[in-house]
């Protein structure tokens, strides 16, 4: 009798251990799968650096998964280049520690990145004393200090989304569709809202010239607010207002294209050198600015002055940095 109960208890404890092991394995697998899914989402949004970090997180616990390896190989060079560009922008904005961290992130992804290695030495030579604290942190804490901050999802994003369109082609329309589908439900507009919006009068449409085709580059500078033309570097772009185009050839052959606006008065802007996209600016708020390097290697500051989400219109300035 006693023997039977002992056998039973051994059987129960064994099955408990097996269940616990299965649960732990599932937990690891699920965590990896979740990180991989988040990586895929970030990649669709065009954020290669965040996607890379998620893929790396997924692969950390499961290095044998071929999909993870392929994703890391695919995004590695893009992510490393993103961080080196971020480092240069951060230094130009006076954020030396951020510049150093971005450079280290680049080297974490690609330890022999020639530009990364040269640039970190350059930072050391120029700002050695300012960097001593963060370097000490690196020695003590390691990669933990290089973790990337991912902004929290807005609550609206939790609500049901329409199906994400298939990527049938890689043209700008397809990308816009994906961006539109990824937007939170509260920010997206229904077709009815769009139709209503197109009938509105701000900015006035009456004396508008024929609409500039979307892909045609316009040179529409904003009308000077003063008679003497005191705002020569101001531009207006619109995706709905016929009076303005959605892209403009600005300084140094830099092409600025408006991708999207949100009701939080933010704008998504892409910068092109000819047909090649050189920078993405996402979620730029009114009153904020972003540094950029023109195709002729001159630093400029793009300042967002106004956003009208109803007509998807923005006004911005480009000033030498």
């Amino acid at each position: 009798m006693k023997r039977a109960s002992t056998q039973r208890s051994v059987g129960v404890s064994t099955s408990c251990i097996v269940s616990a092991l299965i649960l732990i394995a599932c937990g690891n697998g699920c965590a990896g799968a979740k990180a991989y899914r988040q990586g895929k989402e970030a990649e669709k949004r065009g954020e290669a650096h965040i996607a890379y970090a998620y893929y790396a997180q997924a692969a950390q616990s499961n290095p044998d998964d071929r999909d993870y390896t392929r994703s890391l190989k695919r995004l590695g060079p893009t992510a490393a280049n993103f961080w080196i560009n971020s480092a240069r922008l951060a230094e130009a904005e006076g954020r030396v520690i951020d510049a150093w961290k971005s450079c280290m992130r680049c080297l974490m992804i690609q330890p022999d990145h020639p530009e990364g290695l040269a640039y970190i030495n350059e930072l050391d030579a120029k700002h050695g004393t300012k960097l001593s604290a963060v370097k000490r942190d690196w020695q003590n804490k390691g990669a933990a200090i290089l973790a990337i901050k991912v902004p929290p999802k807005p609550p609206a994003q939790v609500s049901a989304r329409p199906p994400v369109p298939q990527i049938s082609n890689s043209g700008p329309t397809a990308k816009r569709d994906i961006a539109q589908a990824n937007k939170p439900a509260a920010v997206r507009k229904t077709p009815a809202q769009k139709a209503k919006r197109s009938q509105r009068k701000w900015p006035p449409k009456s004396e508008s010239p024929p609409k500039t085709p979307k892909q045609q580059i316009s040179t529409n500078r904003e009308q000077p607010t003063k008679p003497n033309g005191a705002r020569p570097n101001s531009y207006v772009l619109s995706r709905d207002n016929d009076r303005y185009g959605d892209r403009v050839k600005a300084i140094d052959d830099l092409i600025v294209e408006l991708q999207d606006t949100s009701d939080e008065l933010e704008a998504d802007i892409d910068l092109y050198d000819g047909k090649r996209r050189i920078q993405k600016i996402r979620g730029l708020k009114v009153g904020r600015s972003k540094l950029l390097l023109t195709p002729q290697n001159r630093w400029f500051r793009l300042s967002l002055e106004r956003v009208d989400h109803e007509s998807e219109t923005i006004a911005f300035r480009l000033d030498p940095a």
Binding site: Y55, A56, P63, Y68, L72, G76, M104, L107, P111, V150
Partner: protein, 272 residues
């Protein structure tokens, strides 16, 4: 007559070529594993290495167990490698010498370095998936190393997880599993030595270069080219290097926390 003269010329030519001092890599394969040298050499060549690559054959060819348990600890094997390093150093005093090994071959490298005479040094050492003991005191070794010692480690290394006896003959964990540990007595000599010892733990980003955390995959050509070569071919330490012994300023205060807005804090993703 002409053929004889040509042969003589060729022999002289070969002899002269051997006399030219070049940077040299001494490599020791793993126990019973004889195919990683090609990968390592290829990786170094792709990274721009133009010197000599010497694959020091130390196996007794009686299988991996014999190599791991007996041959790797043989004083004769270690002396043989030490002699070759010494000759190379005396021939080219300013030429860089690198010592590398895989698995049990790392024990051969470490034993050979301990046997080097006073004043003979190698420049850098790389230990791939070392099966030498993690508690081995590297102080005598580092006195024969002018630069740095790198040791790759991985928790996903199935072979090192399974071995019961390390290549130094003890029961402790091998260094390739969890990295070398600093000895308890931390005098000046130890601090000096371990400030140049760097464990390179496996990270997911190394998957790009073919190292999936496995035992022999650490010698993949791409990994050697992109991760190891920039460290050993540079005079200054790599920015990502974190030596085992580093001075910690205990007086430094943590930064004061500033009040933040009531919004949800951003989550973070680590770069692995």
């Amino acid at each position: 007559m002409v053929a004889g003269a040509t042969l003589l010329m060729l022999a002289l030519g070969t002899g002269c070529a051997e006399q030219i001092a070049k940077p040299t890599v001494f490599y020791c394969e793993g126990a019973g594993w004889y195919s990683s040298a090609g990968q390592v050499e290829s990786g170094l060549r792709k990274a721009g290495f133009k010197g000599r690559f010497v694959n020091y054959s130390w196996s007794c060819f009686l299988g991996p167990s014999t190599d791991h348990l007996i041959t790797a600890r043989s004083g004769l094997v270690a002396s043989g490698l030490a002699d070759r390093i010494e000759k190379t150093r005396r021939h080219g005093p300013d030429m860089p010498i690198y010592a590398m090994g895989l698995s049990a071959g790392t024990a051969v490298v470490l034993n050979a370095l301990e046997k080097l005479p006073e004043g003979i040094r190698v420049d850098h050492v790389v230990l791939y998936s070392s099966s030498a003991s993690s508690t081995r005191n590297l102080t005598p070794v580092m006195e024969r190393v002018g630069g740095r010692l790198y040791a790759t480690t991985s928790p996903h290394d199935g072979i090192l997880r399974a071995i019961v006896t390390n290549a130094d003959g003890g029961g402790g964990p091998p260094a390739g599993k969890s990295g070398f540990a600093i000895p308890a007595s931390r005098d000046h000599r130890v601090a000096q030595a371990y400030s140049r010892v760097i464990n390179l733990p496996w990270r997911a980003s190394y998957l790009q270069f073919g190292w999936d955390g496995g035992h022999t995959a650490a010698t993949r050509s791409d990994f050697v080219q992109h991760v190891i070569a920039p460290r050993i071919f540079s005079k200054t330490p790599h920015p990502l290097d974190r030596p085992m012994f580093r001075t910690v300023n205990t007086n430094s205060r943590p930064p004061r926390k500033t009040a933040t807005a009531a919004s949800a804090p951003p989550s973070t993703v680590g770069l692995h």
